[in-house]
């Protein structure tokens, strides 16, 4: 099923024309309403009349998270406060949080795009859907919630916390769809195991997973343990919230709602635009947003784009791959670029380990060290684990694999089951203890 075939299946030429028209309009809008952008454009000697087609976008300046912080709280807001009907704030783990105001029209676009996502996952008005993203300042909970309501399915606003109660609701209400972080989905599966509830007792069939990077192996694990199909849901509060892109039944890249959010991939060092297929930093321009429109916002998420019009699902929108890392959580260890996702892919490729890991980076005697902690699955504690040799062999097997993927050696530490801390929101996978002078 496709919610809005007019937009989701538009021919490429029509889409480009629409995007060009909308880009001109949004540049004109920010030029007249946001001093930050007017100053920037004037410095670059650009007026809205210079922007007429979507290809003109490369003339425009980038916007960074730092720009949002520097203009905290409302400096980049374009609409007058009387038009704002909701405010969200990003987690703001470092520095000021990012404040995003939405007009009534923005909330409408958000709900529409979120409904496209849910429809692509096979959710219809007959479904009962649990939103287990956090409700509140974080966009996950309310963003998904409005989409489910707009679609007409029954929304169960479970939020996070009280996981045992959540499991009982999933079983007792016959909940068929769920939106949450992939790590929370695994936590749900573990909680079900503890409660002695099997996947045959529940009716979940589709999951919208996002808000943190995850991998194909994690998808397989979640799908087999919860008995559902797991789809990627991508979004970020600066641009809108969950709804920016979504996987279709092909589960091969996420179609971007590019009539509202125009994607580009750039080289994060040179800022040069990269062609489809090359991995770099994802950049979005909001084409229709009123509250806080952003030009060429650097997401810091690393991925690549691919054509969408050859997708068997019938949609034509450009697809983005999974997020392979963050341009800012890239670790540089002994001069080598290391992404936590690389470690994850190795850990998950070995059946001896649970999908839990923690990277600890430190500097000892001026030399960077990387320690990887992983949990051995309880079923692998068998008879041979009564002596140290098989444990050492398992450690070596993992460290050899890590070395071949990362090009640096990592110290492996095996942990007993359930000893690496679980989180209900975004998981923390890295602890960097290095103090640099």
């Amino acid at each position: 099923m496709i919610w809005n075939p007019n937009k989701e299946c538009m021919s490429r030429d029509e889409m480009s024309a629409l995007q060009g028209k909308r880009l001109h309009k949004i540049v004109e809008y920010v030029y007249h309403n946001v001093p930050f952008y007017r100053n920037k454009l004037q410095e670059m000697d650009i007026t809205p009349d210079d922007i007429n087609t979507i290809d003109d976008i490369v003339k425009l300046p980038f916007t960074t998270k730092q720009d949002l912080r520097d203009n905290y709280p409302y400096g980049l807001q374009a609409a007058p406060q009387s038009e704002i009907i909701r405010v969200h704030a990003s987690s703001g783990t470092t520095g000021n949080p990012t404040i995003v105001g939405y007009t009534r029209k923005d909330i409408g676009v958000w709900s529409e795009c979120m409904t496209r996502c849910l429809t692509a996952y096979g959710i219809t008005r007959d479904d009962t859907f649990s939103v287990a993203y956090g409700y509140g300042l974080f966009t996950g909970g309310l963003g998904a919630h409005y989409g489910v309501e707009n679609l007409g399915a029954a929304v169960v606003p479970t939020s996070t916390g009280n996981t045992e109660k959540h499991v009982r609701l999933i079983r007792d209400l016959g909940i068929t769809g769920i939106a949450c972080t992939p790590s929370y989905a695994l936590y749900l599966a573990e909680t079900m195991d503890k409660m002695g509830i099997t996947k045959d007792e529940i009716k979940l069939r589709a999951g919208a997973f996002g808000a943190e990077p995850w991998t194909e192996n994690m998808r397989k694990e979640i799908e087999s343990r919860l008995g559902l199909k797991g789809y990627n849901l991508y979004g970020l509060s600066e641009i809108m919230g969950p709804c920016v892109s979504y996987e279709c039944s092909e589960q091969h890249g996420s179609h971007i709602c590019e009539d509202h959010f125009y994607p580009e991939i750039i080289n994060p060092q040179t800022l040069e635009r990269l062609p489809n297929g090359e991995t770099g930093e994802l950049v979005f321009t909001t084409l229709t947003k009123e509250g806080m429109p952003l030009l060429r916002y650097r997401t810091k998420d690393l991925c690549s784009l691919m054509e969408g019009d050859d997708c068997p699902c019938g949609r034509t929108a450009v697809r983005m791959t999974r997020i392979v890392g963050r341009s800012d959580d890239m670790l540089i260890i002994r001069g080598i670029n290391v992404f936590p996702s690389q470690v994850e892919s190795v850990v998950l490729s070995m059946e001896e380990f649970a999908p839990r890991y923690l990277l600890i980076v430190d500097r000892v005697n001026n030399l960077d060290t990387l320690q990887v902690q992983v949990e051995v699955r309880p079923e692998y504690f068998t008879e041979s684990f009564d002596s140290l040799a098989p444990i050492a062999a398992l450690e070596k097997k993992l460290s050899d694999k890590l070395k071949s993927v990362l090009s640096i050696s990592a110290k492996v530490q095996l942990k007993a089951p359930n000893t690496i801390e679980r989180s209900q929101g975004k998981s923390k996978f890295v602890i960097d203890k290095r103090v640099l002078n």
Binding site: P378, E383, F385, D386, S387, K415, A416, T419
Partner: protein, 142 residues
């Protein structure tokens, strides 16, 4: 011929061993012998106890990383040279000891060990006339 031993993976962190021992205490299970093989980050605690099968399920249910394995237990007279004699028999057949620990029980020396070739070890021990100790004999002494 062999007896059941619990092997528990524990981290080198204060309180982890106590947690295991408390679980056994609460289940009214008695320790007969124990031993810890340690590395920098973790250790393997091996335990011979009064009801190994029940102890295994108690620990497993509590989420402890535990395995149940079969180890040899032989009884020796408490005199100098008896252990050397017993191990010498195995060594002569080219059988390696993976790990070993011992204790005294009612004036007898008990050797608990695992070898790299259980079948051959069993045969060798029988042919040499060494005395196996049965699980029920161990557990009924406590």
């Amino acid at each position: 011929m062999t007896i059941s031993q619990l092997s528990i993976f524990i981290e080198n962190k204060s309180g982890t061993l106590l947690q295991v021992l408390n679980l056994l205490k609460d289940a009214q299970i008695s320790l007969i012998a124990s031993n810890i093989a340690d590395t920098v980050e973790y250790g393997i605690c091996r335990i011979i106890c009064s009801e190994p099968a029940r102890a295994y399920s108690v620990l497993k249910e509590a989420g402890v990383a535990v395995a149940l394995s079969d180890v040899f237990a032989i009884e020796l007279d408490n005199e100098p040279g008896r252990a050397a004699e017993a191990i010498g028999v195995l060594s002569k057949e080219g059988i390696n000891i993976t790990y070993l620990y011992s204790f005294l029980l009612n004036g007898k020396g008990i050797l608990i060990f695992r070898t790299d070739d259980a079948e051959k070890a069993r045969e060798t021990i029988i042919l040499a006339g060494l005395q196996f100790i049965a699980e029920k004999d161990l557990t009924h002494l406590v």
